[in-house]
């Protein structure tokens, strides 16, 4: 009897040892996961430090705040006097993104409403997969569509000399931003509890009344988050806008004017500048501005979406 009990307690002690090993594994995994988690932050800070360092010489040296932000003369390679004004580039990015949103917002909102509120079963699954596929199209392919398909089309339809312009890039960018916006907007609509819809329908509201009086107001923060993410996407997009805008420095007077985007400028010129030259540093300063703008937009989007989850 006693021996048996002793044996049992020995076994228990052995178990205890094993638990100890598990404890170490657990700790190790915890540390790993923690490192993985903060690595994103480390990378972001690293990138920011890097681009700031590269651009700093310019900011401290030749940089003039008024010239940089309020002059439309971007002539970094001028022989006599190089000027670094990005106003026209800002106007280019803003006009293309603005038009893209005008196209993408109704489009993605409509699709999201259809998927979330009307489509059922197969149709729904099919649409969701299609939207995800659209999101996966590489931006150079979109740029190619802008260049090879939209360009002649715009020239034909509107009888203008060039088809690479705000209209072209805006449409392309709108189509590019729409899938992710649709996805997020649909999530926001789905997050509205069904009992709200049921309550409204039980009072005799039609499907449309339920949507615009109950579902949309209840989902408005999530929808705003979707739009802001789309805007962020528009600001940051490079390849497609490089190919579809015409890449001409210009403050656009109409959608048929060619423009040049901030991102496209960096992409096109960085390879041809001497490392450390004022031009090189000026491009990095554009990078800093872009970084700050997209960071702020994403931060707002994030805060807004988080607010949705809480409410």
């Amino acid at each position: 009897m006693t021996t048996k009990r002793n044996a049992e307690s020995v076994a228990a002690a052995a178990d205890f040892d094993k638990l100890n090993r598990d404890w170490y594994i657990d700790k190790a995994v915890q540390v790993l996961v923690f490192l993985g988690g903060i690595s994103a932050i480390i990378f972001i800070i690293g990138i920011f430090v890097f681009i700031t360092k590269e651009g700093m010489g310019f900011i401290l040296g030749d940089f003039s705040f008024t010239e940089f932000f309020f002059s439309q003369n971007w002539r970094p390679t001028s022989e006599n006097k190089a000027t670094y004004g990005i106003l026209a580039l800002i106007a280019g990015t803003a006009s293309v993104t603005g038009l893209a949103m005008l196209i993408a917002i109704p489009f993605s909102l409509g699709t999201a409403i259809f998927i979330a509120e009307f489509a059922t079963g197969r149709t729904r699954e099919f649409l969701k997969i299609t939207v995800e596929l659209l999101a996966a199209i590489p931006s150079v392919v979109w740029g190619f569509i802008g260049l090879a398909l939209m360009n002649p089309l715009i020239i034909d339809i509107f009888d203008v000399p060039v088809g690479l312009n705000v209209l072209n890039a805006g449409i392309i960018l709108g189509l590019m931003a729409a899938p992710i916006m649709t996805s997020i907007a649909e999530d926001a609509l789905k997050a509205v509890p069904d009992r709200y819809r049921e309550a409204a329908e039980a009072m005799g509201a039609t499907r449309w009344q339920v949507i615009y009086k109950v579902v949309l107001p209840a989902a408005k923060n999530g929808l705003l988050g979707a739009v802001l993410l789309g805007v962020g996407r528009g600001f940051g997009e490079t390849m497609a806008v490089l190919m579809a805008t015409g890449h001409a420095i210009n403050i656009p007077g109409s959608v048929f004017d060619s423009v040049r985007a901030l991102t496209a400028t960096i992409a096109a010129e960085l390879g041809e500048t001497a490392v450390g030259s004022p031009h090189y540093q000026a491009l990095f300063t554009i990078g800093i501005s872009l970084f700050v703008i997209t960071f702020i937009i994403n931060l707002i989007a994030d805060l807004v979406i988080r607010d949705v989850r809480k409410g």
């Binding site: 059922t120 009992r195 049921e198 329908e201 009072m203 109950v214």
Partner: protein
């Protein structure tokens, strides 16, 4: 011939009158040939074990069950003498006529005022003036004894109210469109005893003005808060009588067993 005439006259007195009402969820039959006549202006309670089809019956009365596309219904339902499944009848009108209160209070995530005005706005054609809106809100909230408590925060979100207040609000928001029948599916089950008592008192106040059909799992509540009582079992109506009588001398063994707590 005479019998049918007599029957028609009776039907006129009935708020709800069903014949051979059956309902299927897909292939699963939830209601079997329900024949019920529910009198106007009184409170009728509906009891029965879980899953016997009480909610299903209620949800058929204002056609909210038809949100589900796999629901199939046969038979006839008259509300205030009008067949609600007749082809010329508009589903939205049925839902206006027959208000529904759910088990979990479900005010819309908008202001208290907008909750009250919601039904009114979707059913009235023109625009309602501000002062008239104010009157509608006050009168609805007065009827559910909520006015004094919330009159200073009509613009607050309704979802911030206590559960009892939310449930009262859910009753109040039905009133501006002047429904004839109020359906209540376990309206007190999310409330504490005090809230339950308050809502019961309210129902008693509303009696006469509206026909009330209330589902409850609470035997005591059925007993003290209703005038007639319906006992359902497995999708069928077993017994429908005056509440006091039913609890005192149930006619069926199943009813007796249930009342005495021998079912789940």
């Amino acid at each position: 011939m005479l019998a049918t005439k007599q029957q028609q006259a009776d039907n006129k007195m009935m708020a709800i009158s069903t014949t051979d009402l059956s309902l299927w969820y897909g292939t699963f039959q939830a209601l079997f040939d329900i024949k019920l006549d529910i009198k106007q202006g009184i409170i009728t309670s509906m009891i029965g074990p879980s899953g016997c089809g009480k909610s299903t019956f209620l949800r058929t009365m204002n056609r909210i069950n038809e949100r589900l596309d796999y629901v199939r219904i046969s038979g006839k339902v008259d509300v205030m003498g009008q067949n609600i499944f007749a082809p010329e009848v508009e589903i939205l009108q049925v839902r206006k006529q027959v208000g529904m209160v759910f088990q979990r209070p479900n005010p819309l995530p908008i202001s208290i005022r907008d909750n009250i005005l919601f039904g009114h706005n979707i059913h009235s054609a023109g625009k309602t003036g501000k002062s008239e809106e104010g009157e509608i809100v006050e009168s609805a909230l007065q009827q559910v004894l909520l006015w004094d408590k919330v009159k200073d925060r009509l613009d607050h979100k309704a979802t911030a109210l206590s559960l009892e207040e939310q449930q009262k609000l859910c009753i109040a928001r039905l009133l501006p469109v002047k429904p004839s029948v109020l359906l209540m599916d376990e309206p007190c089950s999310a409330l504490d005893p005090k809230g339950t008592e308050a809502v019961e008192e309210l129902l008693w106040d509303l009696r006469g003005k509206y026909t009330i059909l209330i589902v409850t799992h609470n035997m005591a509540q059925a007993r003290r808060a209703s005038e007639e009582c319906i006992f359902m079992l497995m999708g069928k109506v077993i017994e429908h009588r005056e509440t006091g009588e039913m609890f005192l001398t149930p006619q069926h063994q199943e009813t007796a067993d249930y009342i005495e707590g021998r079912y789940g």
